[in-house]
Amino acid sequence: MAVSVDEAVSTGPARDRGRPARRRGGRGRSVLEVALLTVLAVVMLFPVLWMIETSIKENRDVYAVPAEFFGFTVTMEHFKDVFVGPDGGRSALSVAFLNSVLVAGASTVLATLLGVPAAWAYSRFAVKAKKDQLFFILSTRFMPPVVVVIPIFLMYRQVGLIDSKLGLILIYAAYNLPFTIWMMKGFVDEVPSEYEDAAMLDGYTRLQAFRRHTLPLLVPGIAATAVFALIFSWNEFVFAIFLTSSDSVRTAPPAIAGLIGGTTTDWGLVAAASVVFALPVLVFAYLVRKHLIAGVTLGAVRR
């Protein structure tokens, strides 16, 4: 209350200034706002543009000092190097990309298969200590990966899952499961349970009612959730670098990170590999832009 009184007092002079003056000030402010927004947008987007630009520059232009923004020769060499190895065969990077597709895809399928039924059950049934269970599930996702990876590493070494795609698939599925359950529970909550009740009055069992009436309505939600799980697995780095080592198993993030660290770094190649790596993510993210808030908050915040 005290605050509003202070405010009312402080706005006194502004009120006296009269309408036309304020309107002119408003236009000036609007121009200023647009200018500020433009500057911020340029700053935020410049690194992305620079990455794309670097990926199509010849090597001598990449290292040019001062940096060349325009008028460089365009080349597709770096993109060729991403996919074709020096000996003309498949490059190590392209193998890593294929591994990434396989690992991200399989872990997403697994997380979806386990997560969707669980989300439905949490939404529909009176489960004991439901809220605690759900919060527990989400909190597993907050564990620091560097910490979790220590016992996982020992565990995998024991059962022979070190440096295997299956090992990565399992850990990614577990990593995406809390998200899938939370996100899907939101979607299931939106489908009225009366549909199932009505179907059950018609003689269907609960399971049949779910399959015939609820599941078809959930398909868009499942697709959006799966896309996010796909993005998370695709981008994941910590587990990948500690649990895999050989070129035939490694996914793209550690493979791209492995391009630096020698005596010289081919930044053109790094840029091209990064562009190839990031492009599908941006396309997918654009497809699920309606669910972005729920997606990036792990299904915790919905609108």
């Binding site: 509003s4 001062p66 269970q133 599930i137 597993t140 220590i150 850990i171 981008n235 630096i260 908050t297």
Partner: protein, 309 residues
């Protein structure tokens, strides 16, 4: 409570006998337990194992028997000056990065919410950094911040400013880390703040403008109080993520120069995978997990209250 009550009400009133209800419970168990089993195997069991290891002197390379050392690892970590140093670095980094992101993210969201045209396009453009992998972000900034041929220094040079050794000087390296993290995660705060801003009912502003309330007054008494709860959720979420951060440090600075950008996560990695003191690293990790549990409990409690309110 409210959820459960809703569920009870949703089941058809004429209870169709015991068998139906039993089969519902069976179905719930059958649908939930596979998911919980995977989480138990891949999240809970490893943490319990780490808890056990944290009381031993086990080393992953030496192998052999692990001897019980009680709370030795814990006291060693809590009294280590090295760890205190890393905790301070982490604190500076988390506070610095999250504060910057919040201020910038909210500013951008506010500016966008005041535009009538091009909102969708602007939002989409601003969101790009957030969707990139930390590997791509780290590598690319490393290239841009390079002291010799980096574009940032090149631009500074062209406006007559001196060259900065972004990643190779103690003080600037931590600042660079904060800047890069801010670049990547400002969109996150922006996205959530924007959701809050667009949800503020128009009639409140209309009522305020009838009263000829000033812009700042409207902002202070309408916009901020209504957006604040959602913004706090975003800030807490970012704080947890920033505390856990590992990959960006690993790629961008590798903890250097010296130990100036070694956060707690990165130090755990060094103790575990370069020092091979698995027991100590586990104790270290468990302590970090405790911090995360406290932070995430605050987050989840707050989220819960928000949902019920």
């Amino acid at each position: 409570m409210t959820d459960d009550a809703g569920q009870v009400a949703a089941t058809p009133p004429p209870a169709p006998g015991r068998s139906r209800r039993l089969s519902d419970r069976g179905l719930a168990v059958a649908f939930i337990s596979p998911a919980l089993l995977l989480l138990l195997a891949m999240s809970v069991f490893p943490l319990l194992w780490a808890l056990y290891l944290s009381f031993t002197d086990y080393s992953a390379t030496r192998g052999g028997r692990a001897y019980f050392v009680g709370f030795g690892n814990y006291t060693a970590i809590l009294t280590s000056a090295q760890v205190h140093q890393r905790a301070l670095t982490t604190l500076i980094y988390v506070v610095g990065a999250v504060t910057l992101q919040t201020v910038l993210g909210f500013t951008i969201a506010y500016l966008i919410s005041r535009r009538t045209r091009g909102r969708g396009l602007l939002t989409t453009l601003f969101l790009v950094p957030m969707m990139l992998s930390p590997v791509v972000v780290g590598l690319f900034w490393r290239f841009m911040l390079d002291a010799q041929f980096g574009v940032v220094n090149s631009m500074l040079g062209s406006i007559g400013l001196g060259q900065v050794e972004w990643l190779t000087r103690q003080r600037t390296a931590l600042i660079s880390l904060i800047v890069v993290d801010t670049w990547q995660w400002t969109p996150f705060i922006m996205l959530i703040a924007l959701a809050g801003l667009t949800a503020v009912p128009k009639y409140l502003y209309e009522a305020a403008s009838i009263d000829r309330a000033s812009e700042w007054f409207r902002f202070r008494t309408i916009t901020l109080p209504l957006v604040w709860p959602l913004l706090l959720i975003a800030v807490l979420f970012r704080a947890i993520e920033a505390f856990r951060l590992f990959d960006l440090v690993y790629i961008l600075t590798n903890g250097g120069p010296g130990v100036s950008t070694e956060t707690l996560s990165f130090h755990v990695y060094k103790v575990a995978f370069l020092g091979f003191n698995t027991g100590t690293a586990s104790a270290y990790g468990i302590l970090m997990v405790l911090v995360v549990i406290v932070l995430s409990q605050i987050y989840l409690r707050y989220l819960n209250r928000l949902k019920e309110g």
